[in-house]
């Protein structure tokens, strides 16, 4: 059968540990002074952190703006407004679907061989 340590022994071991932990506690006033100093310095640190973040965001925005402004414009016909040039170049994404097999048959009017004399002979009343 398993041997179990009595409650009193568990209590003794844990209490001894607590007593040793308590004996090693730092002084209350020292800890409180440090805590107060930290609470005073924390908002300042947060403020300087926010300033740093704002400066970084502005730098990135400036960089993006410079890159966009310096990008070379698309080659256009001289004299045409930008919107017209863009519309002329535009292609539908489904444009390729219009190229179906046999589409060339419909591209021009078919030429039919004339059989008019036969048709006239067959006509009633002649």
């Amino acid at each position: 059968m398993k041997r179990e340590l009595p409650d009193s022994d568990i209590a003794r071991l844990l209490e001894e540990r607590r007593l040793s932990d308590e004996a090693s506690a730092p002084a209350f006033q020292v800890l409180l002074t440090r805590a107060r100093a930290r609470s005073l310095s924390a908002p300042a640190a947060r403020r300087s952190g926010r300033r740093l973040l704002a400066a970084a965001a502005m730098t990135i925005a400036l960089f993006v703006a410079v890159v966009l402004l310096r990008r070379s414009p698309a080659v256009r016909e001289p004299g045409l407004p930008a919107a017209v040039a863009t519309l002329a170049e535009w292609k539908s994404p489904t444009d390729s679907l219009l190229h179906t097999p046999g589409a060339e048959l419909l591209a021009e009017t078919p030429v039919l061989v004339s059989r008019v004399p036969e048709a006239a002979a067959a006509a009633p009343g002649r």
């Binding site: 398993k2 041997r3 179990e4 340590l5 009595p6 409650d7 022994d9 568990i10 209590a11 003794r12 071991l13 844990l14 209490e15 001894e16 540990r17 607590r18 007593l19 040793s20 932990d21 308590e22 004996a23 090693s24 506690a25 730092p26 209350f28 800890l31 409180l32 440090r34 805590a35 107060r36 930290r38 609470s39």
Partner: protein, 166 residues
């Protein structure tokens, strides 16, 4: 309670509060001091308010436990109640009259319990809280705390008994 009265009460509890903070921070001293500083600030500037529903000690211990949990969530340390072997060893060297083997066996056995079982047992055996007070400290129902206490005690007694036999 005025701020001065609160500060006096905190000073009375300080040593025990530090011991409990150590238990909540895996016995890492620096982290325990940090948690205790934050706890005191929370209580003194009114972010944690004592409503008088429990004893002041239960309230302070509860704030310490929650602050330590917040620190862990922020990624201060992945360890829970018990730190590295080196820290455990250091802590056991500082311990009182029990022998080093006995202290090491206690630390090892406690480390094998669940976090809740360990917390309830520490509060009851080390700090002399009732199971109901431990439940209030840990924001548990009294029923849950009783189950953690009974199972934890049985397992700890068995683990320490095995150690003593071997």
């Amino acid at each position: 309670m005025t701020p001065i009265e609160t500060e006096i009460e905190l000073e009375k509890l300080h040593a025990a509060a530090f011991a409990w903070a150590l238990a909540c921070c895996g016995r890492r001293r620096e982290e325990a001091e940090d948690v205790l500083q934050t706890t005191y600030l929370k209580i003194l500037d009114g972010r944690a308010r004592f409503a008088g529903r429990s004893s002041f000690r239960t309230f302070v211990f509860g704030v310490i436990q929650r602050t330590a949990a917040e620190n862990r969530r922020k990624g201060a340390s992945p360890f829970l109640l018990f730190g590295t072997g080196r820290e455990r060893e250091k802590s056991s060297e500082e311990a009182g009259s029990s022998g080093p083997e006995e202290r090491l066996a206690l630390a090892t056995a406690l480390a094998r319990l669940s976090k809740r079982q360990r917390e309830v047992l520490e509060l009851v055996f080390s700090f002399g809280l009732t199971v109901e007070e431990a439940a209030a400290t840990l924001s548990l129902s009294a029923g849950s705390a009783r189950v953690h206490y009974a199972r934890g005690k049985k397992r700890l007694a068995s683990l320490l008994g095995e150690g003593a036999r071997g």
